[in-house]
């Protein structure tokens, strides 16, 4: 049993921490206020190998370990949830290729992502199919050596800026979820339109796009796995990406907690620092406890991804559920601890609370997580 990161992981964490402190943290407030995609931070991550973390060395990356990916997401999210998504979505977009891609596809598609030359995105949801993902309507019709895609995807993180987009589409509408296939679209050869960018409660610097596919051609060589295997692939991807969202939630909560702790030490009322009041002490003790519990669950889930252990689906769902519910509660409590200052945007905790909300919703709402967990328990 071992609860420590390896030496290599600690070294990577130090690198990320320094970068985050110097270059990401100072930009976080502005990114949120302007709701602008931080291209500078994307380039910074690319140049420093961070976007290579999701990929094994043989495909141009530096790791491929889920524990390391989660560690990276956690560290960045402490300062800026939007920036943490750059790594999280690079991982999310890479999983379909790494899980179901042929050797040829991996060798062709991974290196530009690992180097950060291109960013990835993942298009599953539609206006009529969120939790009920299998009810999607985007259609891919085979014509000779290519497929023609028609349809719309909704709420796609990074869909407007990605160079490599994984899209799930119906190749056989009669077969329901067994008729869904997965494709990799490369923007230069299979361009798509981003018809709308959403204005959001949080993660405001992350571009959330509606994507439109009008007779978009994709070479058959870019289909991942066989026709009809797309839905199974989507579920396998979620098992791997959910710990990452847990890690993001964990980081957001830790960032808020650290800020509130420093504030409480300094803030005096009734002639004493507010940390001398038991009501405040108890809030911090409860937050620290919940954060600690979430951390172990997230890294246990990530470890199961790496070791291909049994029970991954249930554990990944538990980690995402617990960490995101925890982050919502912790960030809300941190706003409370800062009082009036917690409510104004001069201070970062209100942003962290707004950022936390999405972690209870995407990659499977927390209601879906409960469905998944219950199914695993009751089968």
């Amino acid at each position: 049993m071992d609860f420590d990161f390896s030496e290599d992981q600690v070294a990577i964490r130090e690198t990320i921490r320094e970068l985050v402190q110097d270059r990401v943290a100072p930009r976080a407030a502005e990114i949120d206020e302007k709701a602008e995609y931080p291209k500078d931070i994307e380039r910074l991550f690319a140049e420093n190998g961070i976007l290579g973390i999701p990929f094994p060395e043989e495909y141009g990356g530096i790791s491929g370990s889920s524990v390391t990916i989660c560690m990276g997401i956690e560290e960045i999210a402490k300062a800026c949830a939007t920036s943490s998504l750059i790594l999280a979505v690079q991982a999310l977009g890479s999983y379909p290729i790494l899980v179901a891609g042929s050797e040829e596809q991996k060798k062709r598609l991974c290196p530009p992502l690992a180097s950060g030359e291109k960013v990835a995105a993942y298009a599953l949801s539609e206006t009529g199919s969120g939790s009920d993902a299998a009810a999607m309507k985007t259609r891919a019709k085979r014509h000779g050596n290519e497929y023609v895609l028609n349809g719309t995807k909704q709420f796609i993180t990074g869909g407007s800026i990605a160079g490599t987009l994984v899209v799930f589409a119906q190749t056989d509408p009669e077969a329901n979820h067994k008729g869904i296939s997965a494709f990799v679209l490369e923007r230069d050869t299979s361009p798509w339109q981003a018809s709308k960018l959403e204005h959001k409660l949080g993660i405001r610097g992350s571009p959330t796009a509606q994507l439109v596919f009008e007779d978009v051609k994709v070479p058959a060589a870019n289909r991942l796995g066989e026709e009809g295997e797309g839905f199974k692939l989507a579920l396998a991807v979620l098992d791997r990406s959910r710990p990452g969202i847990g890690a993001q939630a964990l980081g957001i909560a830790e960032g808020a907690f650290d800020y509130a702790l420093n504030y409480a030490r300094e803030r005096k009322q009734f002639d004493q620092p507010i940390t001398s009041f038991q009501g405040i002490q108890f809030m911090f003790a409860d937050m620290a406890t919940q954060i600690e519990a979430a951390r172990h669950l997230v890294y246990m889930a990530a470890t199961k991804v790496d070791t291909k252990a049994a029970g991954l689906t249930k554990t990944a769902a538990m980690a995402k559920l617990f960490a995101s519910d925890m982050a919502m509660k912790v960030t809300t409590d941190c706003v409370q601890i800062l009082g009036g200052y917690g409510y104004i945007s001069d201070y970062p905790v209100e942003r962290m609370m707004r950022d936390a909300k999405i972690t209870q919703i995407y990659e499977g709402t927390n209601q879906i997580q409960r469905v998944v967990i219950a199914r695993a328990l009751l089968k």
């Binding site: 002490q281 003790a285 600690e292 519990a293 669950l297 246990m300 252990a309 009751l378």
Partner: protein, 372 residues
């Protein structure tokens, strides 16, 4: 990182599970109903070497670590929470102080008898006017010739009347509060040691709890544990370990509740609300489990573990209280009937939020560590 139980730990846990399910589970309801000591379960545990899990082999114990101990108490609690607390207290706060602070002579004299189960251990810190504020204790230990004379009353003592040896905390003074406290090993048959009131409780009904009255109890210097004035350090270190054990007990009660609720739901038609309740119960219990294992791992590695032990105790016990309540809710009327496991788990779980440092004290400990 590695979250798997090492193979030897997994086999040890399986062995304890078999004993717990075979011997303790069948009597659990009766033990609870009749408020009787689970003789057969404790004897079986003693025969299986489970009364000295963390005591080194050279003193007749199993020589295992904190993680093994947590697993042991967890498995026992899944069957019978009363049995688990009797053995937990005997080991973590009743025996470990001697292991950690005793002289070679004291260890040789007492540990083998505790490890074999010949003697049951107990821990006497709390007084009627000194619970959370343990450092305000008033039981006195006046220097007298070659030893001390102890006078005072201890309350809420687990294993009262059954223990052969009590670890007693008394004021040698003259310093106030913690600095004036010393620790003593007091054999039960010492003249002047008397069992006072026995308490009927809400739960853990098979675990005897009562008053320990000390009237001019003569204790030789050889029975003082560590130096004068070090007693509070002994108590606090014992409680750090104790908190890991209680975390294990909480996990056991919680796991029993989850397992029984799962079986209940499988056997009936379900609505999504019930499924969601079960999912939340299992998720929270899993989050608590890792905290307990982490505290045990840190303790064994000799790393600072006070905060982690408090975090584990707080979260495991609060989680299990909620899990037990949720399970009872799922069981509905059937669960609320006297004699049902569901209502017993609720009554048993409540104690864990209170003893070995109430969950308010745990929050104080955690906050103090956060703010230093």
């Amino acid at each position: 990182m590695d979250f798997d139980l090492p193979p030897e730990h997994a086999s040890f846990r399986d062995a304890v599970r078999e004993l717990a399910q075979d011997v303790a589970l069948p009597v659990a309801a009766e033990v609870d109903r009749d408020h009787r000591f689970p003789e057969e379960a404790v004897s079986a545990a003693a025969e299986a070497g489970l009364m000295g899990v963390v005591i080194p082999r050279e003193y007749g114990g199993a020589g295992l670590d904190a993680l093994a101990f947590t697993l042991c108490i967890d498995e026992l609690a899944q069957a019978c929470a009363s049995t688990s607390v009797i053995i937990d207290v005997h080991t973590s706060v009743g025996s470990e102080p001697i292991l950690l602070f005793g002289t070679d002579e004291q260890k040789r004299r007492w540990l083998p008898r505790l490890a074999s189960g010949e003697l049951l251990g107990a821990f006497a810190l709390t007084e009627p006017a000194a619970g959370s504020d343990a450092a305000s204790l008033q039981t006195s230990a006046r220097r007298h010739g070659d030893g001390y004379v102890l006078n005072g009353t201890k309350v809420f003592i687990t294993n009262i009347g059954r223990a052969g040896l009590y670890v007693v905390f008394a004021r040698t003074g003259p310093e106030e509060r913690a600095a004036g406290v010393s620790a003593f090993l007091v054999p039960a048959e010492t003249p002047g040691v008397r069992i006072g009131q026995m308490f009927k409780k809400m739960g853990l009904n098979g675990s005897p709890t009562g008053e320990l009255v000390l009237e001019d109890v003569v204790v030789p210097v050889a029975n003082r544990l560590a130096a004068e004035g070090q007693g509070f350090t002994v108590a606090m270190r014992a409680l750090d370990s104790g908190r890991i054990g209680i975390s294990g007990q909480a996990l056991g009660i919680g796991q029993a509740a989850v397992d029984e609720a799962t079986a209940l739901l499988r056997a009936r038609s379900r609505e999504q609300g019930d499924d969601f309740t079960l999912a939340d119960m299992a998720t929270r219990l899993e989050s608590a489990r890792l905290l307990a294992y982490n505290a045990a791992w840190l303790c064994t590695a000799g790393r600072p573990f006070t905060r982690s032990a408090s975090i584990a105790k707080l979260h495991c016990t609060d989680t299990t209280m909620q899990v037990a309540l949720d399970a009872l809710q799922l069981a509905g009327e059937e669960g609320a009937v006297s004699g049902s496991r569901f209502e017993r788990h609720v009554r048993d779980a409540k104690a864990l939020q209170i003893y070995e440092g109430s969950n308010q004290v745990q929050r104080v400990v955690i906050a103090r560590d956060l703010f230093r």
